[in-house]
């Protein structure tokens, strides 16, 4: 394979997005401050969304931005901002230590390498967007049962989180905000 076939606008975009994703992933791992780690995650998630778009998966790419960048990452930031004193953030990903991190990293790397080398990577026809209608059909027809089961799992997680939060609030001896407000008014 010579270089001229390698450098097309598509591959150029791919390398740019991959660079953004990897550099900000390094930022997540190595940043001296956990808040910077959280902000670096912005680049990682955004880069992955860009890769999805590049592959013609427009719906998945946009939902990646909507759910991960616009939702989950904001929650992570929210948690980081609330759990530390303003301006005195000392916690970071490096403080967990090499002994714990290295085996996990090596194991994950081995898994990815094995996945990449054993997959056949079949080539399909290109330009698959728009995918919205097809995804909807496959979710609500062919894979309806798994889809509903997944939503049930999410609901369980939601209810579980609420049970834990309310119990913790009660054990601390303070009433749940909602009740105290009702008492104040009624």
């Amino acid at each position: 394979m010579d270089l001229s076939t390698l450098i097309t606008p598509g591959t150029l975009f791919f390398f740019m997005l991959a660079a953004v994703t990897l550099v900000s992933a390094l930022g997540v791992a190595l940043a001296p401050n956990i808040l910077y780690s959280a902000f670096s995650l912005l680049g990682t998630l955004g880069g992955v969304a860009g890769l999805y778009l590049l592959l013609g998966a427009d719906f998945v790419g946009i939902v990646q931005v909507l759910v991960y960048v616009g939702g989950i990452l904001v929650l992570i930031l929210f948690a980081v901002l609330l759990t530390n004193k303003l301006g005195e953030l000392k916690l970071n990903n490096l403080s967990t230590g090499l002994m714990v991190g290295a085996p996990a990293a090596v194991a994950l790397l081995a898994l990815i390498v094995k996945g990449v080398t054993t997959t056949a990577w079949p080539l399909t026809e290109e330009a698959t967007a728009p995918t919205t209608a097809r995804l909807g059909d496959s979710f609500l027809r062919e894979h309806l049962l798994p889809f509903e089961l997944v939503s049930l799992v999410l609901l369980m997680a939601l209810v579980g989180a609420m049970v834990i939060a309310r119990r913790a609030a009660k054990e601390e001896g303070r009433s749940v905000p909602e009740e105290s407000h009702d008492r104040l008014v009624g």
């Binding site: 931005v65 904001v74 609330l82 919205t132």
Partner: protein, 405 residues
């Protein structure tokens, strides 16, 4: 003098619509340009942002001050003469802009310089990007400006020749808008944290919790409209609403309209939802900002107002549709193409303008919510109502359209 307040915007919109029609229907094709190309998209973005959104945002800052003055029995800003011309004090927004540009750009000593600078950019960029999916007219058929086109001919011409009055025609349209708009949270959060000020941090946290809560309702409330019109693409939704008011979103989706509009106003963080910037309590995530950096937050707020109006007009008020108007006029063969194009742009602009005015009126009519009331309204009232709206809409759509797959 009151009639001038109606006449002046109308004249401006007619001129803008005519310019757009000429620019994309005659000038670019005459110069050998391609309406499908990237530079045509860039020109469209420049036209709608610099020609309509930015000036309107500026004028809205003045309109808001005049409106508040009217409701509080004051005169409000009415001087700012340019030579002998007073123009009701309209030039105040230019004076405001100049003041912000020349004010000292102050950065607090302990602020995080990088994130402090990034905050206003992250607040204003998403709003600018989301205007890409808004259709501001059905589009112009190059080379046929003086012809009398039928609806079918125009649709075919737009599909093949480009010329849509919309920067990008995305199949995932409104989903793209939700995705990009959800990034606006970062502006407030970053600004709040980077300022190294407890008030601004509180404001930033309040902003992010409020925007996340109301995003959910906003997305669910508009799902009903997706079900009815069978598309996520704004231009297609407008097309599907047709030339009869009975098919407009506000008639087919009244509950969806109220829920979406409420949630969208909450997203703009203006009274009655201005918990993140309550002047009497936390002042806001932008308390440490001065000069043009504050100006960017300010401008972003008014552009969000315009964008909210644009989306509400598109999904619930037929976008650029005028009742009874087809591609060749109210009666077949009545109007040339360029006139219909201009009229449609004017219809869209007037709808956006009226909805902006309505938002200003809400802003100065309602008192502020308490944070717990805000959360209760969002999660316990709007969210269940929007879920019910989806269920009912789905049932009705299924019953009325048995052929729907």
């Amino acid at each position: 003098m009151g009639w001038l307040a109606i006449l002046i915007p109308l004249v401006v919109f007619v001129v803008l619509g005519f310019v757009a029609t000429l620019l994309f229907g005659w000038l670019i094709p005459a110069l050998g340009g391609d309406l499908h190309s990237w530079y045509a998209a860039l020109l469209k973005a420049a036209f709608i942002l610099l020609g309509f959104v930015m000036p309107l945002a500026g004028v809205l800052t003045w309109m808001e001050r005049r409106q508040s003055a009217m409701m509080q029995d004051r005169l409000g800003p009415n001087r700012a003469n340019v030579g002998p011309v007073r123009a009701f004090g309209l030039m105040h927004f230019v004076a405001d802009a100049l003041k912000m540009l020349f004010k000292e750009d102050f950065v607090p000593a302990n602020a995080n310089k990088l994130l402090f600078a990034l905050g206003p950019v992250m607040a204003i960029a998403p709003v600018l990007i989301t205007f890409a999916v808004v259709p501001w007219g059905s589009g112009v058929c190059a080379g046929h400006l003086t012809d009398r086109l039928t609806d079918g001919q125009l649709a075919q011409c737009l599909d093949t020749g480009g010329g849509r009055f919309q920067v990008v025609h995305l199949e995932i349209g409104l989903l793209f808008y939700f995705a990009i708009a959800s990034l606006a949270v970062y502006g407030a959060t970053l600004a709040g944290w980077a300022s190294y000020n407890k008030w601004s941090l509180l404001g930033g946290l309040r902003a992010s919790s409020q925007m996340m809560s109301y995003e959910v309702t906003m997305g669910l409330a508009i799902l009903g409209a997706f079900l009815v019109y069978g598309s996520l693409e704004p231009a297609t939704i407008v097309q599907a609403q047709g030339d009869s008011i009975l098919h407009w979103g506000v008639v087919t989706q009244p509950l969806g309209f109220v829920l979406f509009f409420t949630a969208a106003i909450a997203e703009t963080k203006r009274t009655p939802f201005d918990i993140p910037e309550g002047e009497s309590e936390v002042i806001g995530y932008f308390v440490e900002y001065s000069g043009m950096r504050f100006g960017m937050f300010y401008l972003a707020e008014f552009m969000e107002v315009i964008f909210t109006s644009a989306i509400v007009a598109t999904v619930f008020f037929g976008g650029w549709q005028i009742p009874g108007l087809h591609a060749d006029g109210f009666v077949a063969g009545q109007m040339p193409h360029w006139l219909v194009c201009t009229l449609q742009f004017v219809a869209w602009a007037v709808k956006v303008f009226v909805l902006c005015w309505f938002q200003l009126m809400i802003r100065w009519t309602m008192p502020r919510f308490r944070p717990d009331q805000l959360m209760r309204l969002g999660w316990k009232q709007l969210l269940p109502a929007s879920l019910a709206n989806i269920l009912i809409t789905a049932g009705v759509v299924l019953a009325l359209m048995p052929g729907a797959k």
